[in-house]
Symmetry: C2
Subunit: 211 residues, 2 copies
């Protein structure tokens, strides 16, 4: 995707949000929207929206606004929502179980094909129809199935070891639910889910309203 | 906090990340850091860092960099990490259970004092020592305890009803784990956790590396 090289990660990180809003607008059969209306709905400044959307071509027209469908299609293309990723969950605890039951991932192109754990009581079971395997079989599984992403929901004390294990068998994408920053190879892509960050922003916003 | 009014939400949303990195630096006994080093660690451009940190006073000195402790203290003050928030979880499913077991929240000032559910099999039980109550008792509970935040981990089909219920009894902060955008009163603060967004960014980054 050489033409996307110049889009900054800050813009990329906002694209899923544009994608969701535009998807909602399409469902409501709204054909066009001004940056101002989009701004009000998304709570992003209109100038930020114009700047973001200019990054990947001029879809806005003065006095007309944005064509919702074109913009949605273009953002979908950049995000690659038609692509499919094969995912595994490592850690069949509560968070792992919650993820295995999350219906939205499949819609977005992420297929969870297996769950791994070390607990003999869990191995051999299923969550939402997905088999739970022993960590000992991970390497063989990855040899037989191309796995793009490992969703790591293991206890904090084992996260480093588990992350090293999954990358050593060739998995390149890590979705990390632990608060630890993982330092893995240059060729590994890590996205961290820091739930506390969102909660701290909520706390800030409550305080700034005087609650 | 009138002096913080001019800090944009985009900057505020990055503050928890600065907070975490600076906290790690302090633990490593690192006293100062240049915007360039911080940039490399955080994968944010140095100019973005300078711009962000300039928003709340000039802590950087040419040729010296940032004093880690001052910067950490200032960001802590803005984020209000010394403040405590009383929280409840609504929905004792897997995500609710995962949150109730998440040790980091308390450290960041968020005390989970009760869990609510509608399932008679769960009501009366405990998760991580926290009592599970019937939704029918929510109003009375909130009258007796000041509750700042409701963490909503209920099924999608009930999210709107539950959000209306918790705000009708006076809770002003909503941490929403459903993919639905909640439209509540102007006086209610909603933070949405869109797990798929982070996963979509991971997918984008994998594709842009050619995997």
């Amino acid at each position: 995707m050489p033409e996307e090289k110049k889009i900054s990660m800050a813009v990329i990180r906002r694209l899923p949000r544009y994608f969701r809003y535009l998807h909602d607008l399409l469902k409501l059969d709204i054909k066009r929207i001004s940056s101002r209306e989009l701004s009000e709905r998304m709570c992003i400044t209109a100038s930020q929206i114009r700047q973001d959307l200019n990054c990947f071509g001029g879809f806005g027209q003065q006095g007309y606004g944005y064509n919702v469908e074109s913009l949605y299609n273009e953002i979908s293309r950049i995000l690659g929502v038609d692509k499919r990723f094969t995912c595994i969950i490592v850690g069949a605890g509560n968070m792992g179980t919650a993820l295995a039951n999350y219906e939205n991932f499949k819609k977005r192109g992420f297929d969870i094909v297996a769950i791994f754990d070390v607990d003999p009581a869990k191995i051999g079971g299923k969550i939402n129809g997905i088999d739970i395997y022993s960590m000992d079989t991970l390497e063989d599984f990855v040899k037989q199935h191309k796995v793009d992403i490992a969703m790591l929901t293991v206890p904090n004390r084992t996260i480093t070891e588990v992350a090293e294990k999954v990358t050593s068998v060739g998995i390149k994408g890590i979705w990390n639910f632990s608060p630890h920053e993982l330092r893995l190879g240059e060729d590994v892509v890590v996205e961290n889910v820091h739930l506390s960050d969102s909660l701290m922003v909520l706390g800030y916003r409550l305080r700034s309203k005087g609650y």
